[in-house]
């Protein structure tokens, strides 16, 4: 049950991280194999657990502004900025399809 190239490509798009080489793909295969052991456990009638504090109410504070005005501080760590804006490259350009990309997955 090997992961298909389509799924691998899909994962690279979702994660915006690449497998880099055969070892990266092998790592995923092993991770899946390892996780498959979960299916040995009988969980009939068991509810999923999100948090160990599920019996308590989450703290919600008043919707009042209590801090802020730290624009300069927040901009300090950004590499590209203009006035009070973070500068991003053009958006809405999806990553090229697998055939057009320089990805090791092409060879698979």
């Amino acid at each position: 049950q090997k992961v298909t190239v389509e799924v691998l490509d899909h994962l690279e798009h979702l994660a915006l991280v690449d497998f880099r080489d055969a070892e990266g793909v092998e790592r995923l295969q092993k991770a899946i194999q390892f996780a498959d052991q979960l299916h040995e456990v009988n969980t009939d009638g068991v509810e999923p657990m999100d948090s160990v504090l599920e019996d308590r109410c989450l703290y919600l504070r008043e919707d009042d502004v209590t801090e802020g005005n730290c624009t300069n501080k927040l901009l300090e760590n950004a590499r590209e900025k203009v006035e009070e804006y973070f500068v991003a490259p053009p958006g809405n350009i999806p990553l090229p399809k697998i055939e057009e990309r320089e990805t090791f997955l092409q060879g698979s």
Binding site: L11, A15, L38, P48, N77, P89
Partner: protein, 525 residues
């Protein structure tokens, strides 16, 4: 400075009585950090800021107005906590050069008590690992590698192949913090604990490592790995010190809505003399495959200790223990996939020069910034979260998590007060041996005894117990009921007193004055 002897209020008393000044203390620690640089425990040393804090502390002592027990005490913080004005790297290229604009709540609390922040300690990249070997600044060396106790027991392969090839790992991922406390360069350090990352290196470095109950201590400013399991961890040289630090950190934080709102009262630990009312549970599943016979023997000796002192010791069962590592693997990678999504190069951290589109910039930034381990977990996590896999992996793991947590509820509900287990499968292995297996395999092996406490959110503590046949520390773990840190630490302190763990006898030939022994050891509480 007085030797450690389970006496309370040593260094703090020394400061109050003027036997030592905060500045002297700070300078000594900074100097020791320099002479133990080969341990690679620190990523950043904030020398100027620390000396300034020490001066301010000294002024307060002069006026007779110290802020508390922690005033003037040198501490270190794992480099995944935000520290205002100080670089916070998570040992990753992704955050090299990132200067935090704020202090994590726990850091702020320590500073408010007058503690002196010496620097940021080394770790596995983004706290992923169990060796403190996989960060971009290189591995941390266990100070015990340079102890007389270890050297006496090791067979030198040749004259030239001395400590260079023989040094052992600290364990991880809070290895830098554990090494810093173990080598006396600070009196307490912060770590983090998601699967055992505070207790594991504590065991290997012979220090106390406390994982508090999830929800007790604020995670605001702790760069998250697994939001539902992460906790700040506390590393100290004795249990009393851990209680003091806990006292200054615990409590509701409006900036972390996962902290409980109950009123927390700091406590002093009583000197327990009568353990006859205690019920100690020994979970049979913790006799895990690969557990060294030495540790089995030590564990057995410990249970006898409790029995002979009149405590009730019973074997219990936590039947889903063996599934906890797999469950953790899925939940951890899934949360990591989500948490690491924030690193895109736009607002902070590394940014690639690639500028064709946002997606290509993000993807190049992340390619350049993360190591293999981090990338691997992100990809696995995304796989388990795919629509077609969500139910079978992520939801399934969450169900198994409930089974694991319920095991503990049942056992604690049956009258058991505290569980006693080993912390690690063996003593620290040499670095050269450790790196033969990959990070995921190692983590899976090493987290097996510590991980379930994170699943269930329970407090747990490593107490150094004895030395192995190789002269290296071995610790045992106590796991307590939710939010019952006082009981947990009281029992741990009693145990610590019984076992009298030996002090490390560091022999560092690299010092300017030739070979010397360093035995400074005072605890601060």
């Amino acid at each position: 400075l007085p030797r450690k002897g389970g006496l309370r209020f040593q260094v703090s008393a020394a400061l109050r009585e003027g036997r030592v000044t905060a500045t002297e203390l700070c300078q000594r620690c900074l100097s020791l950090i320099k002479s133990t640089r080969f341990l690679n425990a620190y990523i950043t040393v904030a020398e100027e800021a620390a000396l300034k804090q020490a001066e301010e502390s000294e002024e307060r002592y002069r006026r007779g107005q110290p802020l508390g027990v922690l005033d003037g005490i040198p501490i270190a913080v794992k480099d995944n906590f935000n520290t205002a004005g100080i670089e916070t790297t998570c040992a990753s290229n992704m955050l090299k050069g990132y200067i935090s604009p704020y202090n994590a709540t726990v850091v702020q609390k320590l500073l408010d008590q007058g503690a002196v922040l010496l620097g940021k300690t080394n770790l596995d990249e983004f706290a992923m690992g169990s060796g403190s070997t996989d960060g971009v600044f290189g591995p941390v060396r266990n100070p015990w590698s340079y102890s007389r106790q270890y050297k006496e027991k090791s067979v030198p392969k040749s004259h030239s192949e001395d400590e260079e090839s023989n040094w052992v790992i600290t364990g991880g991922s809070s290895g830098g913090s554990a090494a810093a406390v173990s080598s006396f360069t600070c009196f307490a350090a912060l770590g983090s604990d998601t699967g055992g990352s505070t207790r594991n290196p504590a065991a290997h470095c012979g220090v106390v490592g406390l994982k508090p109950t999830y929800g007790l201590i604020s995670r605001h400013g702790l760069i998250p790995l697994v939001n539902s399991m992460d906790v700040p961890g506390i590393l100290t040289r004795c249990v009393d010190d851990a209680a003091v630090v806990l006292g200054s950190l615990a409590g509701h934080d409006p900036k972390d809505s996962t902290t409980i709102q109950d009123n927390f009262k700091p406590f002093e630990l009583p000197d327990l003399t009568d353990v006859s009312k205690l019920s100690i549970g020994i979970p049979k599943e913790y006799h895990a495959p690969g557990l060294s016979s030495e540790i089995v023997a030590l564990w057995s000796k410990a249970t006898d200790l409790f029995k002979n002192a009149g405590a009730k010791v019973i074997e219990v069962s936590l039947p889903h223990t063996r599934h906890s590592i797999v469950c953790y693997h899925v939940l951890c990678t899934a949360e990591v996939a989500s948490n690491m999504a924030r690193f895109d190069g736009l607002e902070y951290g590394h940014r690639s020069d690639m500028n064709k589109s946002t997606e290509s910039m993000y993807s190049a930034t992340r390619r350049e910034g993360f190591n293999d381990v981090v990338r691997g977990r992100i990809l696995s996590g995304n796989y388990f979260l795919l629509k077609q896999n969500y139910e079978n992996y992520f939801i399934k793991a969450q169900k198994v998590r409930r089974l694991i947590a319920n095991d503990f509820v049942k056992v604690f509900g049956s009258g058991v007060d505290i569980l006693l287990t080993p912390t690690t499968l063996s003593d620290a292995v040499p670095y050269m041996e450790f790196i033969k297996e990959d990070n995921r395999t190692r983590s899976a092996q090493d987290d097996i005894l510590t991980q379930a406490a994170n699943m269930a959110g329970l407090p747990a503590i490593n107490v150094p117990t004895g030395l192995s046949g190789r002269g290296l520390p071995v610790g045992l773990q106590f796991i307590g009921r939710s939010f019952q840190e006082k009981q947990l630490l009281t029992v741990a302190k009693w145990f610590e007193k019984q076992v009298k763990f030996p002090m490390i006898q560091l022999e560092m030939k690299r010092h300017d004055h030739g070979a010397f022994q360093h035995q400074k050891s005072a605890s601060f509480s």
